[in-house]
C-alpha cells in the first residue's frame, strides 16, 4: 500500500522564531497524480513544499519518498531523490541561453556539449508538449517561457516528483491552459505533481486530489471529483472566528476619494490594475481583499503618487465632501501632494524598505515626512524628538531608547513606530497595506484600535488585508480585487467569509458590480 505513494509527509512541524508555519502537517502524493495544495496566503503551503525540496529543514516529522524514510537537507538531496521544485521567483541567469541555464552546475566533461543538451531538451519537449528554444537567451523570454524553462530544467535533472509554486499567477488564461495540458501529459507519463494554488477553478480543472491547509494546520484532503467550489472554500477559509474587534457605525460618511478608471501597467507592460473605480468615504474603514498580487500594492501606490498610471486614470481628493473643491492626485509626486496640503498617510507593505529608514534612529524616522517644513536649512529635531517619545509612551514601543536604529526593533515595534508616525501627521486619508502581517495578537489589536480611532476622527481609512476574519469584523465595506480588477464591493456587516473568499477567486462577469 505504502509503495503507491510517491511522497508521504507525516507530522511535519516547522517554526520560525515564535511563528509556527506548519503544525503537524500531513500530506501524501500518489504516484502519477496531480495533487493541489490549497490554502490562503500564509497557510504554510510554500513552507511545507520548501521542506520537501530541501530549502528548509523540518523541526520534527518524517518524510517518506517511495516508501522509504529520507533526510532532505539541501536542494541537492532533493534532486537525488527525484524531487524538483519550480519556485515563484525563477532561478535563472538572464544572460545565459536556455540550454546553458539547464546545464548550469551539473557535473560533466570540461566542455558543455551544446548539441547533446539541445537534443535532450528537444526530446523532453516533444515528450510532454513543451516549447523551448535551447539557444534563446532568458532575457528575451516571456514569463511563461521562463516558467516552461524552469519545468524543463527540473525534468532534465531527472525529477519524477514536481512541485509547482503558484505557477499560474504569472500566466494568461491561454498560457495556463497550455501549462495544464503539459501537466496532464507529465502525469500520464508517470510523474507525480504537486501544484500550490489558491485558485479554486484551477484546483477543479487540473487536479486529481486536493489537500487543504489553513493557518499552518492540515485540514483534510479529498478527491477533486467529489469536491466543488463551495465545499473547498469552506475548508480553506474555515469557520468564522469571533475576534471582538470594535466596529462603530460610520458617522456622516462623506465621499473623500473618487477613484475612476485607475489602470496601472508594470515595466513589462502587464496590466496590474485594470480600470478600477471606487469611492472612499471619510469616517469609514474600507477593506481591500484579494489574493496577493492582485493589484493592492498598485492601487495604494498610485494614490500616493508613487506609481505611474495609464492615461484616463483619475483620483480626486475632496477634503470637504462631494460638493467641495477637488484635487487631482494622479500625475503628482508624493512631495507635491503633501505641498498641496493633502494629508495622506501611507503605511506600506515593505515597512523597513519603504516606510522607514532601517539604519536611522526613531527620531530620524519621525522626520521623514516633515523634515522639509519651515524655512531654515537645518532640520528641526525638537518636534520629532517629542513625537518619538510620545509614540514610544503611548503605543508601548519596546526599544532601548529613541536613538536606537529601527532595524534593531522587533517587527511589531517597527510597525508601531510606522503607524504612530503616520497617524501623528493627523491625516485625512490613511492607507495601510498588510498592517498586521507578522504581528502578535496584542500588537494587532493595538493597530485595529488605532485605525478605529482614526475612523472616529473622520479619516478615510483604507485597510488592505489578507485575513478575512479581520476584514469582515473591522471594515465597513470591503472591495474585493481579483486579478487587478474590482470584482465587487460588499458590506462588511452582512457579507460572509465564503462569499468574499469566492469573490477573491472567481471573477464576476458583471463588471459594474461595485462601482
Amino acid at each position: 500500500m505504502a509503495e503507491d505513494f510517491a511522497v508521504r509527509m507525516v507530522d511535519i512541524t516547522k517554526t520560525f522564531g515564535h511563528v509556527t508555519a506548519n503544525n503537524k502537517v500531513y500530506l501524501e502524493l500518489k504516484k502519477g497524480e496531480i495533487l493541489s495544495l490549497l490554502g490562503e496566503n500564509g497557510s504554510g503551503k510554500t513552507t511545507l513544499m520548501n521542506m520537501l525540496s530541501g530549502i528548509y529543514f523540518p523541526d520534527s516529522g518524517q518524510i517518506y519518498v517511495d516508501g522509504k524514510e529520507v533526510v532532505i537537507a539541501s536542494p541537492h538531496d532533493a534532486y537525488a531523490l527525484g524531487i524538483g521544485m519550480v519556485h515563484q521567483h525563477f532561478k535563472l541567469v538572464d544572460v545565459l541561453t536556455a540550454a546553458e541555464n539547464i546545464e548550469l552546475g551539473l557535473p560533466g566533461g570540461p566542455v558543455v556539449d551544446r548539441k547533446a543538451v539541445a537534443a535532450k531538451v528537444r526530446q523532453i519537449c516533444e515528450r510532454y508538449g513543451f516549447d523551448v528554444d535551447p539557444d534563446k537567451k532568458v532575457y528575451d523570454m516571456s514569463v511563461s517561457e521562463k516558467q516552461t524553462l524552469e519545468i524543463v530544467k527540473t525534468l532534465y535533472r531527472g525529477a519524477n516528483i514536481l512541485i509547482l509554486d503558484e505557477p499560474t499567477a504569472v500566466l494568461t488564461p491561454q498560457e495556463t491552459e497550455k501549462l495544464f495540458a503539459v501537466m496532464r501529459n507529465m502525469r500520464d507519463d508517470g510523474k507525480s505533481i504537486i501544484i500550490i494554488t489558491h485558485k479554486l477553478n484551477e484546483v477543479l480543472a487540473i487536479s486529481d486530489r486536493v489537500t487543504i491547509l489553513r493557518k499552518g494546520e492540515y485540514i483534510g484532503d479529498m478527491e477533486t471529483a467529489k469536491a466543488d467550489a463551495r465545499s473547498l472554500t469552506d475548508m480553506m477559509v474555515g469557520r468564522t472566528v469571533t475576534l471582538n474587534i470594535r466596529r462603530d457605525t460610520p458617522i456622516d460618511p462623506q465621499r473623500r476619494l473618487e477613484i475612476r478608471n485607475l489602470t496601472v501597467k508594470d515595466a513589462e507592460g502587464v496590466t496590474r490594475l485594470d480600470s478600477v473605480s471606487l469611492d472612499v468615504y471619510a469616517g469609514e474603514i474600507l477593506g481591500v481583499a484579494g489574493i496577493s498580487g492582485c493589484g493592492q500594492k498598485e492601487l495604494l501606490e498610485a494614490i500616493a503618487g508613487l506609481q505611474g498610471t495609464v492615461s484616463g486614470s483619475s483620483v480626486k481628493y475632496r477634503p470637504t465632501g462631494p460638493e467641495g473643491p477637488a484635487e487631482e492626485l494622479i500625475g503628482q509626486t508624493p512631495r507635491s501632494i503633501a505641498e498641496k496640503g493633502v494629508r495622506l498617510a501611507f503605511v506600506p507593505e515593505d515597512r523597513l524598505g519603504m516606510g522607514l529608514v532601517a539604519g536611522m534612529t526613531l527620531v530620524g524616522n519621525m522626520m521623514l515626512k516633515e523634515y522639509r517644513s519651515g524655512k531654515s536649512p537645518l532640520v528641526e529635531r525638537r518636534h520629532p524628538h517629542d513625537m518619538a517619545q510620545k509614540i514610544v509612551r503611548e503605543l508601548d514601543v519596546v526599544t532601548p531608547s529613541i536613538d536606537t536604529p529601527v532595524r534593531k526593533l522587533s517587527g511589531g515595534n517597527v510597525q508601531k513606530v510606522l503607524v504612530g508616525r503616520e497617524i501623528a501627521m493627523e491625516p485625512t486619508v490613511l492607507m495601510s497595506a498588510y498592517a498586521v502581517r507578522g504581528l502578535d495578537i496584542n500588537t494587532s489589536y493595538t493597530i485595529y484600535r488605532l485605525l478605529n480611532e482614526q475612523k472616529r476622527r473622520g479619516v478615510a481609512v483604507i485597510y488592505v488585508g489578507e485575513d478575512l476574519d479581520v476584514l469582515l469584523q473591522l471594515c465597513d465595506r470591503i472591495a474585493v480585487l481579483c486579478g487587478g480588477r474590482l470584482n465587487a464591493i460588499v458590506d462588511g456587516r452582512t457579507a460572509t467569509k465564503e462569499e468574499v473568499g469566492y469573490l477573491m477567486t472567481y471573477l464576476k462577469k458583471d463588471r459594474e458590480a461595485g462601482a
Binding site: 520560525f16 522564531g17 511563528v19 533526510v71 509626486t333 516606510g355 529608514v357 536649512p377 532640520v379
Partner: protein, 368 residues
C-alpha cells in the same frame, strides 16, 4: 535526523559597544605594525623599534617637520571630507584624484594669468571660486549620467581621473617655466602673489584652519541640515526616499557637486597654500588614499582626522627612514598597505560574530 550544517556559522552582530569596536581596530593596527616591523627587519636587519622611533622623528621631530605633516594631513583630510557626502549617499566617487587636480589647475591658472594685475586677496578669492567650480564640474558629470542612465559611477569617475591627469600634463606643458623644464616651477616666486599668507608667523596655519573649518562644516551639514538628511535617506534606501517625496536625481547631482567642489578646494589649498606649483603630483595619489580614509572613518569627519594623520605620519616617517637607512621612501606605501589591509579586515570582526556550532543545535531563525 541530522542535518549537514556548516561548521562555522557567521552572523551579523547586533551592534558592538563603540569602545569594543575601537579595541578591535586598535588590535588590528598593532598587529599590522608588528607585521610591518617584521618586514622592515627582514629587509634591513635593523631594530624595528629604532626604525619606528626614527619615523616619529621624521614626522614630528622638529616644528617644521610637524608643520609639514600637518599641512599634508590637512590636504588628505580635506579630500576625505569631500568624499564623505558621496559615500554616505552610496555613490562611489573614486574620482577625487581628478577633482583635486582640476581644482589645482583652476587655481594655478588664476595665479598665472592674473598674478601681476590683482592683489593676493582677490587672487585667493577668485581662485577659491574657480577651484570649487572646476571640482564640482568634474563631480557632476558622472552624476548626471548616473541619474539619467544609471551609468556605473565607479568606472566613470575612475576614467575622469585620467582625463584630468592628461589635462594637467597639457597645462603644465603650456605653462612650463622655464621653457623645456617640463614643469611649471614655483608660480609668482618673487611676488608671492596669490599665496596663502602666513598667520602668526606660521606658514601653513591657514591651510589647517581652512580644512578644519571645512571638516566641521561638513560634519554639521551632514548631521544637521535638511540636505544632509536627504543624503542619508537616499543612501539607505532610494525606495524610502521616493516614498518621502525626495527627488533622488536632484540629491544625487547636488551632492556630487558638493563632493567635487570640496575636492576642488583641496586642489586650491594644495596649489595656493602648499606647493605653489601644479603638476600631477599636486594630487599624487592622495585622491585614492582619501577614499580609504573616508571609507574607514564611516563618513565621520572627526575620525578622518585621526586616520589622515596616521597615514601622513607613516609617509613622513618612511621618508625619514629611507634617507637614514638608505631605502627608498616607497617603504611607506608598503607599511601603509599592510596597515590598511589589517584595518579593513578588522571591520569584519566588528560587524560579524563567528560561531563554531555543534551539530546538534539546528534551530533556524526567521523565515526568508
Amino acid at each position: 535526523m541530522t542535518k549537514h550544517e556548516p561548521f562555522i556559522h557567521i552572523a551579523r552582530r547586533d551592534g558592538l559597544a563603540w569602545w569594543r569596536a575601537w579595541l578591535i581596530r586598535l588590535a588590528a593596527a598593532v598587529l599590522a605594525l608588528l607585521v610591518s616591523a617584521l618586514f622592515i627587519y627582514s629587509l634591513t636587519k635593523l631594530n624595528p623599534v629604532k626604525v619606528y622611533a626614527a619615523m616619529w622623528e621624521g614626522a614630528f621631530g622638529t616644528p617644521r617637520r610637524a608643520w609639514i605633516t600637518a599641512r599634508d594631513a590637512s590636504i588628505l583630510l580635506c579630500i576625505g571630507v569631500g568624499l564623505a557626502p558621496a559615500f554616505m549617499m552610496r555613490f562611489w566617487n573614486v574620482g577625487a584624484e581628478g577633482q583635486v587636480l582640476m581644482g589645482g589647475c583652476a587655481t594655478a591658472a588664476v595665479l598665472i594669468y592674473c598674478g601681476r594685475s590683482l592683489p593676493t586677496a582677490a587672487l585667493l578669492g577668485i581662485g577659491l571660486v574657480v577651484s570649487l567650480a572646476a571640482g564640482a564640474l568634474w563631480g557632476v558629470v558622472p552624476a548626471l549620467f548616473k541619474a539619467k542612465w544609471n551609468t556605473n559611477e565607479t568606472l566613470f569617475t575612475l576614467m575622469m581621473n585620467y582625463i584630468a591627469i592628461q589635462l594637467t600634463c597639457f597645462l603644465v606643458a603650456k605653462w612650463e617655466n622655464p621653457k623645456g623644464s617640463n614643469s611649471v616651477g614655483i608660480i609668482n616666486q618673487q611676488t608671492q602673489a596669490g599665496w596663502f599668507p602666513a598667520i602668526a608667523g606660521k606658514q601653513y596655519l591657514l591651510n589647517v584652519i581652512i580644512v578644519l573649518a571645512v571638516a566641521v562644516g561638513m560634519y554639521l551639514y551632514l548631521k544637521y541640515t535638511k540636505q544632509g538628511y536627504e543624503i542619508s535617506v537616499v543612501g539607505e534606501s532610494e525606495n524610502t526616499a521616493r516614498y518621502a517625496g525626495i527627488s533622488v536625481r536632484r540629491v544625487l547631482i547636488r551632492t556630487m557637486a558638493i563632493s567635487g567642489a570640496v575636492c576642488g578646494l583641496s586642489g586650491f589649498i594644495a596649489v595656493a597654500g602648499a606647493s605653489h606649483t601644479i603638476s600631477t603630483s599636486t594630487a599624487g595619489g592622495r585622491g585614492f588614499t582619501a577614499i580609504i580614509v573616508a571609507w574607514m572613518a564611516k563618513f565621520n569627519t572627526f575620525v578622518m582626522i585621526l586616520i589622515a594623520l596616521l597615514l601622513v605620519f607613516l609617509e613622513k616617517g618612511a621618508i625619514q627612514i629611507a634617507s637614514q637607512f638608505h631605502l627608498n621612501d616607497y617603504a611607506s606605501n608598503v607599511v601603509e598597505g599592510i596597515i590598511l589591509f589589517f584595518l579593513l579586515g578588522s571591520e569584519f570582526f566588528i560587524q560579524y560574530t563567528v560561531r563554531f556550532r555543534s551539530h546538534k543545535n539546528k534551530k533556524e531563525v526567521a523565515p526568508s
